[in-house]
């Protein structure tokens, strides 16, 4: 009976809504079709793909390639083609952000615990962890990766958006009408609704009162992604430390927006632009304007 709980499919507001849980997020597909069988099949494809990506790239498991890489103790690890693609992508993002987006920065969490408390680590603590951070220290040559013992990689900053785009790719061939994919706030619209209208996506400002609507985005196709999490921060001596850490300094990016939402053609692109923007701190807005995209900066 537990397996039956994995996917629920319900008819609401003339849409089939399929829901499941993956990558620690509520995931849903809104399908503008009367065809229940098709809806179920598409949701099943989405669920399987999301679970597959979670299983393969989650850093919380000990049976996947990420675990193998992070526990290689300095040995070279051969990776499969898909992992190589994502490592290449992470490498390009590292270059494009001048080292600010770094998949090895996760170990900083050992000293930074964003639990709303005032436990700000000391400079020496940060320094000692920082010695294990830096994509430039990783030797990545297709298809083998070598890094020092104690370093870790984390594809968490890419995984959910990748899953949204992958699901979009997989279900697109079967579509006869519009679908909206939403994995925990990272969205992708595939075609307008049956009545020709675009999908309307409300962006909430979670810092304000519940369900306060900060903006409304209309989408026929394309993606929306949000970076930043307003609930994860520390406050000490009146200073708010956001959870976006600068891998060069080991400290939170100063004056970073609480959250950035962007619109782009793919979810990976939207998500990465939002992440880049936040890493620019006070310069986030300028950066986003230069990219000539629709965005919302809170």
């Amino acid at each position: 009976m537990n397996e039956a709980l994995a996917i629920s499919l319900q008819r609401q507001n003339n849409l089939w809504i399929g829901r499941f849980s993956a990558m620690a997020s509520p995931c849903e597909l809104l399908l503008d079709t009367p065809d229940e069988t098709l809806a179920y099949q598409l949701v099943a494809i989405a669920e399987r793909e999301a679970k597959r990506i979670e299983q393969k790239f989650s850093r919380y498991r000990d049976d996947n390639i990420i675990f193998k890489i992070n526990n290689a103790l300095g040995q070279s690890i051969e990776v499969d083609a898909e992992t190589a693609l994502l490592l290449d992508y992470a490498d390009q993002c590292y270059q494009l952000s001048d080292g600010q987006f770094d998949i090895t920065s996760g170990v900083l969490r050992e000293v930074w615990r964003f639990d709303g408390s005032d436990c700000v680590p000391s400079s020496s603590e940060i320094k000692s962890v920082l010695s294990r951070v830096g994509w430039s220290k990783v030797n990545w040559q297709y298809s083998s990766l070598t890094m020092d013992k104690g370093m870790e990689i984390d594809l968490g900053g890419i995984g959910k958006e990748y899953a949204v785009d992958r699901v979009a790719l997989l279900i697109r061939p079967y579509l006869q009408s519009g679908v909206l994919i939403n994995f925990g706030g990272d969205l992708c619209a595939l075609g307008p609704r049956l009545n020709g209208q675009p999908w309307e996506v409300a962006i909430e400002d979670s810092e304000k009162s519940k369900k306060s609507q900060a903006a409304l985005v209309s989408l026929n196709s394309g993606s929306v992604a949000t970076s930043g999490d307003t609930r994860r921060f520390l406050i000490k001596d009146g200073v708010r430390y956001g959870h976006i850490l600068d891998p060069m300094t080991g400290w939170p990016v100063p004056d970073a927006p609480r959250s950035v939402t962007t619109v782009a053609s793919t979810c990976m692109e939207a998500g990465m632009l939002a992440t880049f923007a936040i890493l620019r701190g006070a310069g986030a807005k300028d950066f986003l304007q230069q990219q000539e995209i629709e965005f919302l900066c809170l």
Binding site: Y60, A81, L169, L273
Partner: protein, 443 residues
Amino acid sequence: MQLKNKKWPLIPTKPSIRNALTVATCTVLSSSLSTVSFAEEEKSDLSKIGLSTFFYSEEERVSVNTTHVAIENDLGDGSFLRANIIYDTITGASPNGRIIPAAADGGNIPFTSASGFSISINDNGSTGKRWLTEFTDKRAALNLSLERPITRTLKGVIEGNYSSENDFTSYGASGTISWDINQRNTTITSGFGVLNESVSPASGTPLGLGVSNCNDTAPVLPTWANCNITSPRFGNGKKRMFDGMIGVTQIVNQRTITQLNYSLGVSLGYLTDPYKLISVVDNTIDGEEVMILYENRPDRRTKHSLYWKTVSQLSEKKVVDFSYRYFWDDWGMTSHTFDYKYRYDYEPKSYWQPHIRYNLQSSADFFQRAIDSSIAGLPQYASADYRLGKLSTYTIGLKYGQELGVNGSFTVRAEYIVQSYSEVDLPNMKALVYQGTFTFKFK
């Protein structure tokens, strides 16, 4: 001609970062189509094999050792072929229905083996165990089932069973249909099955309420007793059982699913247990056992049961599973069973599951501890089988499950069972259950 010193229209400089990101993401996604789809194909259509060893041990009574192999073959297109192979060895002693003598030296009936082959009845009064039947047996069972979608909302399962022991064979078939309605939030299930069983004690099947043995030294025997004729024996005892079930499973919300089933079963034929006895006691001489008869049950039984189960996911890590069963039959028995399991995923790949269960059962109309020798005539039916008497059973248990890599998992569980009786003289039965199961998926 003059070239006007015209200002060239400003070509918008492509935002370099965004442009580069667009190219990078497109590369990942388009390449992933060729590299990943194969891996995904390989994942599906996996077959599963489960190996399980089960050990059940009642204190001073029956022990059962079971080896179970379960195979599930994914035939694709939603069809599954499943096979279960079970092998049991059963040893120990089971209460046979005779009274437990009040005096330490036991009764006076010299008692010989009742029904042969795998059975011997001790009449060792001094150890007070003559109320137990010792036996050993081996059982092999095979179950095959095929599950197949019929239409997009209709699914069928057909099943065949065969089981064999030294003195017992059983074979049957069943079919179940599940129908998804209400936008797949509701499933209606209905099934029907037939089972044939045949029991063949080595020395024949005794006639119900026939005489097994008499106490030669008893001062008075009932007028209806004829100790010169022990029970005639006939061949196999045969019975046939028909079972029907209808149920509804409803998804209440994303986290809760509930199920209600009604089952009806009709058994016809030789429903008596050929190894169970009932004592005839003379209450004028301190309830001393003067005769032993074979038990006798009606040759028809209609059983009903209502079963309700709810599984609810309280949070990401916690699942509760509660069920209640109410059972009643036309032999006058009723039973209530409450079952509660709480699953806690304490890591992404392992869980603990405590389990408690309580069962309360009332006795059959013809159940009696012993037959009073002063009655004018024999009742039509009588049984002193403790399983037909009033009893209550408590079970507490704990299960641990863990995934092994991507394609394997194992579970271990232990349970402690206490059964107590209020209408027979038996001491409480205490039993332990251990089970270990390994499951592997393979291509």
